[in-house]
C-alpha cells in the first residue's frame, strides 16, 4: 500500500471519527432539548396540565330536581311525572364530528320518524351555549318500538343516545288544563328571565296557570355531581354529589270529581263554570269549554295541531273562566238592590208599577223589560225573584254611577282577587272617569240604566261572578280566592304564607243594616224555590235549599220596538245564559258561577248546570260520562 493511500486512509478515519463526535454532540444536544421540553411540560407547566387532565375526566353535571306534584283536595294526583325517552345527539362524538350532524340525522330518519320541525328545533338547541359532550335532544317521547330500532342499530350511530327523563304528565288531562295550566319546553324568552344555573338540567317550565304561578316552588333546586368520564363522555364513576332539592308538592282546593263534572256539563258548549268554597275562598272547580289536552304541550305540540287549536272559532285555548269578559246581566241585581238600600237612596219599601218598559222621559226611549206587558207591582223581593228589569232601571236611575260602582267593587268586580292564577283579568267596572278615558264621553243616565241590569259597559269574568256570589253568601265576608290549599302538607291560607304577594282585597262588606243580607238571601232562595222564581225548575225536587240568581246577557243590541226571537238569530248572536248561586242556602259549602255562551236564557241554559254541580258537591251525585246534561 503506497504511503499516500495510507495517508488518505488515516485522514479519512480521523475525519470519520470527528464526524462521529459531531454526531454524538448533536445527539446530546437534541436529547437535552427533549428533556428540556419534558421538564417544561412536567415541572414548569405541571399544575396547568393537572388541571386540564382533571377537567378532561371530571365533569360537573347538573341534576334536574324532580318537579313537585299537584294533588286535588282529596289527594288525587292531577300533575305527575313520568319517564319519557328522548333521542339525543352528542355532536362531538358523531362520525365526522359536528360536520357529521346532517348525515346522522338523515340516517336516523330512515329508522325512526324525524320531521322538519324536529330538525329545526334541534338546530336551534344546538346553537345555544352548551357544555362540550353534552347531548342535544332531537326527538322526544320515543315509543318502545323506536327505542328498540335505535338500540339494534346503535353500532351505526356513534354519539346517538336514548336518554330517559322525567316529564310532566297530566293523568286527567283535558278537563283540567284551564285550572292547572301546563308546562312546556323553555323558550328563548323564558331562558332570558330564569336563573340559568338552577335550570341547567331542566327542560320544562310552567307556561300557564298553577304550573306557571308556582314555578319556583314546583321546580325545586338543581343538584350537581362531579363524575369521571372517559373521552366518549361515558360516566365511569361519581366522584362527588350534591343532591337536587325536589320541587314542593302542591295540594289544591280543586275537587277532581267536581272538576270533571263541570267539564262534562260543559261538553259541546262554550262557557265556563267556577265553583268556590265560601268558607275558605278555595277554588273547587274551574272549567272552561271547549278545552284541550295539556299533555301534548309538554313534549311539544305539532304545529298542525297547534294551528287547529289556535284557529278554531270556538277558541279552545282561551280560558273563559279567568279571561272571559261577559256582561254579568241580572246576576248583579242582588248587589244593585243592596247598593240602593244600603246607600239610603232607595227605600227598602220602594215599589213601582211595571208596564214592561221604563222611560227616562215622557215619550223618550223605551228601556224594555224581558217580559212583555210587565210584572205589575214590583218590590225589591219580587224584582230579584222574577228578575224585573224595570225595577233596576228605576233604582239605577235614582243612584247613578257612583253608588253602584262602589258597591260592585266591594264585591270584587273590576279587580283581580284570585291570588294564584296569573291569567286572570280584571274586566271592566265602568266609573265615570273610566268612560271619560276610554270612551271620551261623560256618563249618561242611560249608561246607569244599562249598568243597573248588568249590561252596557260593565263586564265580569266567571271567576269574578263566583267571587261576588261568595261575598253575598258570606254576608260580606271576604276570603282570598286561590287554588292552593297546602304546600308540602303545610296549609296555605293566603299566598303570602309562602312568600308571594297577596292581591289587594276589598274590605269585608258591612251593611248599615245587616238584616239587608237576609232580605237579599231570601229573595235569592225564592229565585230557586219560589213559585215564580226564574230558577225554580232547577231548584225543584231537592233535599236541600239553594240560593241563586239567573242572568241573560244580550249579545246583540235590540232595536226599538223589536222583539227578540231566538230562533231567527244566528247562534253566535244568541244570548249568554248566566247563573250565580250557592248551596245549601244556609251555611253554604259551594258557591258557583256558570256562563254558557249563546246558550239562551240563564234559567234554562245555566241554572240546570249549577244544580248538577250543587248535587255533586252536596249529595255526591256524579255526572255520568258523556252526559251532555
Amino acid at each position: 500500500m503506497p504511503w499516500s493511500t495510507m495517508d488518505t486512509q488515516r485522514q479519512e478515519v480521523s475525519q470519520f471519527k470527528a464526524r462521529l463526535w459531531f454526531a454524538l454532540l448533536l445527539i446530546v444536544m437534541l436529547f437535552a432539548g427533549l428533556i428540556a421540553r419534558l421538564v417544561y411540560l412536567q415541572i414548569w407547566q405541571h399544575q396547568h396540565y393537572v388541571t386540564q387532565s382533571d377537567d378532561n375526566r371530571q365533569q360537573l353535571q347538573a341534576i334536574a330536581p324532580t318537579r313537585g306534584l299537584i294533588y286535588d283536595t282529596n289527594g288525587v294526583l292531577l300533575a305527575g311525572n313520568r319517564a319519557s325517552h328522548s333521542l339525543t345527539l352528542i355532536p362531538e362524538q358523531l362520525e365526522g364530528g359536528r360536520r357529521g350532524i346532517d348525515t346522522t340525522i338523515t340516517n336516523l330518519a330512515k329508522v325512526v320518524t324525524i320531521d322538519e320541525d324536529d330538525i329545526k328545533r334541534f338546530k336551534r338547541r344546538l346553537n345555544q351555549p352548551r357544555r362540550p359532550y353534552s347531548p342535544v335532544a332531537l326527538r322526544f317521547q320515543m315509543s318502545p318500538q323506536e327505542i328498540a330500532k335505535i338500540t339494534v342499530n346503535q353500532h351505526r350511530f356513534a354519539g346517538v343516545r336514548i336518554v330517559p327523563t322525567l316529564v310532566r304528565y297530566y293523568p286527567l288531562d283535558e278537563g283540567f288544563v284551564h285550572a292547572l295550566g301546563y308546562v312546556g319546553r323553555i323558550n328563548d324568552r323564558e331562558l332570558a328571565k330564569i336563573d340559568g344555573s338552577n335550570y341547567s338540567a331542566t327542560h320544562h317550565i310552567g307556561k300557564l296557570g298553577i304550573e306557571r304561578f308556582y314555578e319556583t316552588e314546583l321546580h325545586g333546586t338543581v343538584g350537581h355531581q362531579t363524575v369521571e368520564t372517559n373521552a366518549r363522555g361515558r360516566v365511569l364513576q361519581v366522584l362527588e354529589r350534591l343532591d337536587p332539592v325536589p320541587g314542593k308538592d302542591i295540594t289544591l282546593y280543586l275537587d277532581a270529581q267536581l272538576q270533571q263534572t263541570a267539564a262534562q256539563l260543559l261538553q259541546g258548549k262554550r262557557g265556563a263554570i267556577v265553583a268556590l268554597d265560601p268558607k275558605t275562598g278555595g277554588v273547587l272547580a274551574m272549567a272552561s269549554a271547549p278545552s284541550y289536552g295539556a299533555n301534548q304541550f309538554v313534549t311539544g305540540i305539532s304545529s298542525a295541531n297547534y294551528k287547529t287549536l289556535r284557529n278554531s272559532d270556538d277558541l279552545p285555548l282561551f280560558n273563559r273562566a279567568l279571561r272571559g269578559r261577559y256582561p254579568p246581566a241580572s246576576t248583579v241585581k242582588p248587589v244593585i238592590a243592596l247598593a240602593g238600600m244600603d246607600s239610603g237612596i232607595v227605600s227598602r219599601k220602594f215599589s213601582l208599577w211595571d208596564p214592561g218598559y221604563y222611560q227616562l222621559t215622557e215619550g223618550g226611549r223605551l228601556y224594555r223589560d224581558w217580559k212583555e206587558g210587565g210584572h205589575g207591582r214590583v218590590n225589591m223581593h219580587k224584582s230579584i225573584v222574577e228578575s224585573v228589569d224595570t225595577y233596576y232601571y228605576a233604582i239605577a236611575h235614582l243612584m247613578g254611577n257612583t253608588p253602584m260602582t262602589k258597591y260592585l267593587a266591594q264585591f270584587g268586580l273590576g279587580q283581580i282577587t284570585i291570588a294564584d292564577q296569573p291569567e286572570a283579568t280584571q274586566a271592566v267596572l265602568p266609573t265615570k272617569q273610566w268612560k271619560r278615558i276610554n270612551r271620551n264621553a261623560s256618563w249618561f243616565p242611560g249608561d246607569s240604566l244599562n249598568m243597573g241590569i248588568g249590561q252596557g259597559f260593565l263586564s265580569a269574568t266567571p271567576t269574578q261572578l263566583a267571587t261576588m256570589a261568595m261575598v253575598l253568601a258570606n254576608k260580606g265576608q271576604w276570603h282570598q280566592i286561590r287554588m292552593i290549599k297546602a304546600m308540602d302538607d303545610q296549609p296555605v291560607t293566603k299566598v303570602s304564607d309562602i312568600g308571594r304577594k297577596d292581591p289587594a282585597l276589598p274590605n269585608n262588606v258591612s251593611l248599615k243594616r245587616s238584616s239587608d243580607w237576609k232580605r237579599i238571601h231570601n229573595a235569592m232562595i225564592d229565585v230557586m224555590h219560589g213559585q215564580r222564581g226564574t230558577g225554580r225548575r232547577s231548584g225543584a225536587n231537592s233535599s236541600y235549599k239553594m240560593a241563586g240568581k239567573t242572568g241573560t246577557a244580550q249579545v246583540l243590541g235590540i232595536k226599538q220596538d223589536d222583539t227578540y226571537d231566538a230562533s231567527k238569530i244566528a247562534e253566535k248572536f244568541r244570548d249568554h245564559g248566566l247563573y250565580i248561586g250557592w248551596a245549601p242556602a244556609k251555611n253554604p259549602t259551594i258557591v258557583i258561577a256558570v256562563i254558557i255562551e249563546n246558550g239562551g236564557g240563564g234559567s234554562s241554559a245555566a241554572a240546570p248546570l249549577a244544580r248538577k254541580m250543587f248535587d255533586a258537591r252536596i249529595l255526591g251525585v256524579q255526572q255520568e260520562a258523556h252526559n251532555d246534561g
Binding site: 475525519q15 436529547f31 427533549l34 421540553r37 421538564v39 411540560l41 412536567q42 405541571h46 372517559n230 373521552a231
Partner: protein, 378 residues
C-alpha cells in the same frame, strides 16, 4: 498450551465459556442487554397503554421473539460478502414499492401493504429502511472519499427515488426515516461541510416547494402542529391530549395503570405512536429520562461500534443505522411532546407493532455483525 489443555481441559472450557457464547453468536452483549431492558420496560408500558391487555403483551412478546431470532440470523451474515447483492435488493425493493402504489392494500387512506399470495402481508417500505442505507453505503464504499459531486448526486438519487415512492403511499414517517438514513451514509462518507451547509440551505429554501407537493392531510398536520388549539376537537386533539398526559404526569407520574388520560381514552394511539405519553403520564419525568438514558446508551454503543469498524462500508453503515435509530427517538418523542409535527414514527422497541420491531432489531443485528467482524486488536 496443548499440554495445558490436556491437563486441564475442564479449566479451559470454564475459562472460555462466557465470551465464547457471544463470540460464536456474534452478539454484542452491551446492545443485547440494553435492548432487552428497553423491551421489558416497553412491555410494562405497553400493558398499560393497551388498556391492560394481556393479549397485546403476549402478541408483542411473540414479535420480539421473532425479531430477536431475525437479529441473531442477521448477525451471522458477513455484510462485505453480500454487499454486491445490494443493487439487486435495491431494485427488487423499488419494484415492490411500485407494486404497492399499484396493487397495495391499506387503511385510513394510505396504501402501504403488499399482499403477495402465499406470503404474509408486509410493508416493502420497512425493508427499504435497511436496503437504502446498505445500497448507498455499498455505492460510496467503492468510490473515492470524500465523494465527488457526481457520486453524491447519484447517491442522492438512490435515496430520493424510494423516499418519493414511499411519500406517495403516503407514509411521511417512513420516508423521513429512510431519507435520513441515506443522507447519514453520505454525510459519513465524508461529504464536504460546504455541501452539507448548502444542502441545509437548499432544504430550507425548498420548503415552500415541498409544501405545494404535500397532501391535504399532511398540510393539516403541519398547521395543527403550529397551532393545535385551532381545532381542539379535530386534528389538534392528539397533540393537546398528549401534552396534557405528559404534563399531568409530573416528576413521579400517576403510577402504573393509573394514567387517566390513557385509560379514559383521551389519549389517542396509546399503544402505538403515542406510547411515550403513557409512559410520561404514569412514570413521570423520571420514567421518560430512564428510557431516554437507555436509548442514549444504545446510541453511544452504536457510535462506538462505528468507531471500531475498519472498512468504510461498515463505518458508514454503522453510523447511519445508529443515527437513524436516534431519528426514531427524536421524532417520536418530539412529536408526542408537541415539539414536532405529527409524523407516524414509532417509539423504537416500545411501540406496539411487529414490522418496525423486526426492522429495528435487524438494523441492530447489522451493527452487531459489523462489530463481530471488527479488526481484533493485536
Amino acid at each position: 498450551m496443548a499440554d495445558f489443555q490436556r491437563w486441564a481441559p475442564e479449566a479451559r472450557k470454564h475459562l472460555q465459556q462466557g465470551p465464547r457464547l457471544w463470540v460464536k453468536l456474534r452478539l454484542d452483549p452491551w446492545l443485547l442487554v440494553l435492548l432487552l431492558a428497553i423491551m421489558s420496560f416497553g412491555l410494562l408500558v405497553l400493558y398499560s397503554g393497551s388498556g391492560a391487555s394481556e393479549a397485546a403483551v403476549q402478541k408483542q412478546l411473540v414479535r420480539y421473539g421473532v425479531a430477536l431470532l431475525g437479529m441473531v440470523m442477521i448477525t451471522q451474515i458477513n455484510l462485505r460478502k453480500v454487499q454486491r447483492w445490494m443493487p439487486f435488493l435495491y431494485v427488487a425493493g423499488l419494484l415492490m414499492l411500485l407494486a404497492v402504489l399499484l396493487f397495495g392494500v391499506g387503511a385510513k387512506g394510505a396504501q402501504r401493504w403488499l399482499a403477495i399470495p402465499g406470503l404474509p402481508r408486509f410493508q416493502p417500505a420497512e425493508i427499504m429502511k435497511l436496503v437504502v442505507p446498505l445500497t448507498v453505503a455499498w455505492y460510496l464504499a467503492s468510490r473515492p472519499r470524500p465523494p465527488h459531486l457526481i457520486h453524491v448526486i447519484i447517491a442522492m438519487g438512490l435515496v430520493v427515488v424510494p423516499v418519493l415512492l414511499i411519500a406517495k403511499q403516503p407514509d411521511l414517517g417512513t420516508s423521513l426515516l429512510i431519507g435520513s438514513s441515506g443522507l447519514f451514509v453520505i454525510f459519513f462518507a465524508g461529504l464536504l461541510w460546504r455541501y452539507v451547509l448548502a444542502a441545509i440551505a437548499l432544504g430550507a429554501a425548498g420548503f415552500p416547494v415541498m409544501w405545494m407537493g404535500m397532501r391535504e392531510y399532511q398540510k393539516q398536520r403541519v398547521l395543527t402542529f403550529l397551532d393545535p388549539e385551532s381545532d381542539p376537537l379535530g386534528a389538534g386533539w392528539n397533540i393537546i391530549q398528549s401534552k396534557i398526559a405528559i404534563g399531568s404526569g409530573g416528576i413521579n407520574g400517576k403510577g402504573w395503570l393509573q394514567g387517566t388520560q390513557s385509560h379514559l381514552d383521551f389519549l389517542p394511539e396509546t399503544h402505538t405512536d403515542f406510547i411515550v405519553a403513557v409512559l410520561a403520564e404514569e412514570f413521570g419525568l423520571i420514567g421518560v429520562c430512564l428510557l431516554l438514558t437507555l436509548y442514549f446508551l444504545v446510541l453511544a454503543r452504536g457510535l462506538i461500534i462505528a468507531g471500531y469498524a475498519a472498512h468504510p462500508f461498515d463505518r458508514m453503515l454503522a453510523a447511519s443505522l445508529t443515527l437513524t435509530f436516534f431519528v426514531y427517538v427524536l421524532v417520536n418523542v418530539g412529536m408526542v411532546s408537541g415539539l414536532l409535527p405529527v409524523v407516524g414514527v414509532p417509539l423504537p422497541l416500545v411501540s406496539y407493532g411487529g414490522t418496525s420491531a423486526v426492522t429495528l432489531m435487524a438494523s441492530l443485528g447489522l451493527l452487531m455483525s459489523i462489530h463481530a467482524r471488527r479488526p481484533q486488536p493485536t
